[in-house]
């Protein structure tokens, strides 16, 4: 069972959370004017990548806060979790989802893996 690091409560078991799909999909400000195609994109089109994914989580059985996370979809390693409104802390392109952020940064500094 994976652990999710709630930015408000800390690390908790997956069973306390619900998943909210891709993050940073803003509701169009001019939603009344956009075309049907744009509306459909907003409603239905999602990335579903193999690799780094920015996504939403809700600490449903805890503080009830929604927050965002950067997770590797192959390894389930989280790069970071962050509050709504904060800029996504994205990993460098070379991140393969194995090392945690601190481990990755430590190895990059020493130049060794």
């Amino acid at each position: 069972m994976i652990q999710v690091d709630c930015p408000f409560c800390g690390k908790r078991n997956l069973t306390e959370f619900t998943y909210g799909g891709e993050a940073h999909i803003a509701r169009p400000e001019n939603i009344a004017e956009i075309s049907d195609a744009e509306f459909a994109r907003y409603l239905f089109t999602r990335k579903n990548p193999k690799g780094t994914h920015q996504e939403r989580w809700n600490h449903a059985m805890g503080c009830r806060r929604w927050f965002n996370a950067v997770r590797h979809t192959v390894t389930d390693q989280f790069w970071a979790t962050y509050k709504v409104g904060e800029t996504a802390p994205l990993p460098p392109a070379g991140w393969d989802g194995v090392l945690s952020k601190s481990e990755f940064e430590a190895t990059t500094e020493t130049g060794a893996k």
Partner: protein, 999 residues
Amino acid sequence: MAQVNRVTGKGRVNRSKPVSFTFNGKSYQGYEGDTLASALLANNVKLLGRSFKYHRPRGVYTAGSDEPSGLVQLETGAYTEPNTRATMIELYEGLSAASQNCWPSVRWDVGEVNNLGSRLIPSGFYYKTFMWPASWWESVYEKAIRHSAGLGKCPEENDPDVYEHRHVHCDVLVVGMGPAGLSAALNAGRSGARVIVLDENAEAGGSLLTTGEDIDSKPADQWIADTLAELDAMEEVTVLTRTTASAYYDHNYITAPERVTNHFGPRQQGVRERFWKIRAAQVVLATGAHERPPVFAENDRPGIMMASALRTYVNQYGVLPGKQVVIFTNNNSAYAAAIDAKDAGAEVTIVDTRPSPSGPAFEAAKAKGIHIDEGYGIVATKGKHGVKGCEIAPLSNDGRSVSGKSILIPCDAIGVSAGWNPSVHMWSQARGKVAWDPAVACFKPDFCQQKVRAAGSCNGTFDLAGCLAEGAEAGVAAARDAGFDGIAKAPVAAAEEAFDLRPIYYVPSRRPVGEGKKAFHDHQNDVTAADIHLAHREGFISVEHLKRYTTTGMATDQGKMSNVNALAIMADLRGDTIPGVGTTTFRPPYTPTTFGAMAGQSAGELFHFTQKTPMWDWHAANGAVMEAMGDYLRPLAYARPGESTKAAENREVKMVRQSVGVYDASTLGKIDVRGPDATQFLNLVYTNAWDKLKVGRAKYGFMLNERGMVYDDGVTTKLGENHYHMTTTTGNAAAVLAWLEDWLQVEWPDLDVHLTNVAEQWAVCSLAGPNARKVLEKLTSLDVSAGAFPFMTMKEGKVAGVDARILRVSFTGESSFEINVPARYGQYVWEQIMEAGREFDIIPFGTEALHILRAERGFVVVGQDTDGTVTPMDLGMGWIVSKNKGDFIGKRGFDAPEVARGGRKQLVGLLTDKRDYVIPHGSHLVEMATQAPPVKTVGWVCSTYWSETLGRSIALALVEDGRARIGQSLTVRNINGDAEKVTLTDPVFYDAKGERAHA
């Protein structure tokens, strides 16, 4: 004579404590410290059961958790457990066990005919054989196969034992307490890290209990005792024996069932098994290795076992499994077993596949006077219920055939070894890769993304000194990565000779594979080398296909013995290498785990919580028939003695229309909405406008999803300038709250609004009927007359002396008062209402009556009359969608072509031509009754009831262009053959002007 195979002066069993037990009804004696397997072997009982498919006689093959064939039915009745491994059952006084898969007895088994006819039942035979007639599969074939195959029998009573879960965190989890694991735990523990170290066996020590080698110049026993004492003295270290790390999940989450009282036998007080759920920062796997058997003809007779197991029985249990022992090996490791058996008094012969073995082990065996047949293999074995002899012959140089004359060796036990497989199961479960090491001919742990290390023989390091060193390094490294510093200090042991293994997996016999005697690689699922050849011939050459076609490795032993041999035989057939053929992924659990342990405390009443309203006790005491809604159990109806539920519902409907009833509406979702932007928030989440609502007034609203479809509904009351009380449907309550929080927190964080779930803070008594006001007047001094307390308003005051919010809303169509009181007064107020209503013959009514009453009035239930594809306009409720206000969730959805198109399903009423025909729920409506299938359906019935008020059946349906069809006829078509005519009507069947609710 009792315990004929017991050896004096050997073993760790307590000879001053004899233990009595029965096997197949016969009484035996063993000693404290025995397993069932060792005690049976001590009594020279080698035939334990019959095999899965061919009903061949089988006995124990190992001395540990990898046991494939020494499986017994333990105990009886509710305490019985099938397929328990005799090698893992600690002997206790009064133990009772029996053989499996045999009838009438294990020695004389009718099913043995399967073995004689085995040519007719190869792998996959039932797919090929039982093809016709198809109808016979379930009625005849499956029953016959299930009767013939299989092993133990499931208990048929509830499990009477108690189990528990325990959740723990640690810095370092060490799995295994052999030399590597103990060394790792010592070194990690000395750093101050929080360490859990566990082992599946009753005693720590692993292989040391058998080999007895010196460590740090101390005998093994002493070193183990000293190590455990040191670990015990460390405050942050937990030592768990009889605890199997059975599953390795993501983010270092490991589950480990602990056998707490199993070894005392059934009917113990307290917890039987404890299921540990461990979150470890770092893991060290020191799970050891399993000896690999060679696959040779008739290698399954009772008395044949792993060489290391034979040595364990001699050294750990003081049991010599046979007087004439043959050791069949391709490497040096088995020589120690030969020497120990010889020392214990056996006559020993070594059959070594290597043409000219040499080295210290070889010399030591020779010096003991043990005869060694060099370059030989076993080509056949003899004996009916146990091995009586074996036939050996010289192997060719390439090891693919036999040449020369056979020699017959009489024997009553054979110890076999074809090398060692690191126990990489947990590593594999952790998503770790494994790589083939040709030097030691086995798969070893390779890369793993989790925070895990392997140490010792599970890492392919087989010498004791190496295991201790690796354990120490891994323990310190794991602690360091968890934030604790230490310096590795490895316990010291003498250097050892390498295995010097001649890889051989399938040992040839005089006849081609499949034509001679059976050579088993999977002893539990009865799969032979010939089955792999068959799979190969039929094209199942992928390891995944091979596994599924032959069932290799799919038994409860998880292929601990069989997998590598199967891969090797397939690799040979494919002309490929073993790693070229690939491996399958090991999955949890490592060894069979009881359902009781997995369920823990969550059984019976604690399986799932039941939400109860504050008036639950009253309902239960007054004939309530309960129905589940969400996590709630709520009254469906209140049946009087001798009254059917249906009759109760009709009586309740009648009484609400005629006089008065009270309904427990406490299950509704309730959200306290507060903040300067509360009104704006409601405008965004509801379709109607909330700006003009005055304090003390209430409004019904629809929530839509972004696509414009009805999502939830409820009444929201304005309590203060920036304060609302919102209600939601019962089943959707939690989801709606989370959804509203989503919009507030993510999309509109600038709105200053706070949502508080108050669903369980309020008890709600909904008083409904023409006499509702009269009942309420007896309980309150408030003016509740129609003029002073109009429809859709709220009053605060005392009811039965309790602070209450009274709301005039109606879901029944009758004049109603929804009395909200603090939850703790719910049952008191309810009882006061029942008392006050006595003169009006007040009745409690349940959800079914409520639903009939609302259907008569044409009110929808979201989730019953809607299915996520229905807009307010489809329901004929376009009036609830504000044309004047700005944006709200779902507004843009109305512009989508799907919503604008004609022919959408619309809510209508249905009246059956036959007044008493109540349409089955979910029935479909068609235009022509006589059309042959496929028939297009034009709609479906969403609510359907007998209306006691109207004395006829009524229904609501969603029908294409329904409103335009009002007055027309359609036909209900059902799978049961019904074809009944209905007439479409307005969905309101009763009190079309809504006057009664306002009265």
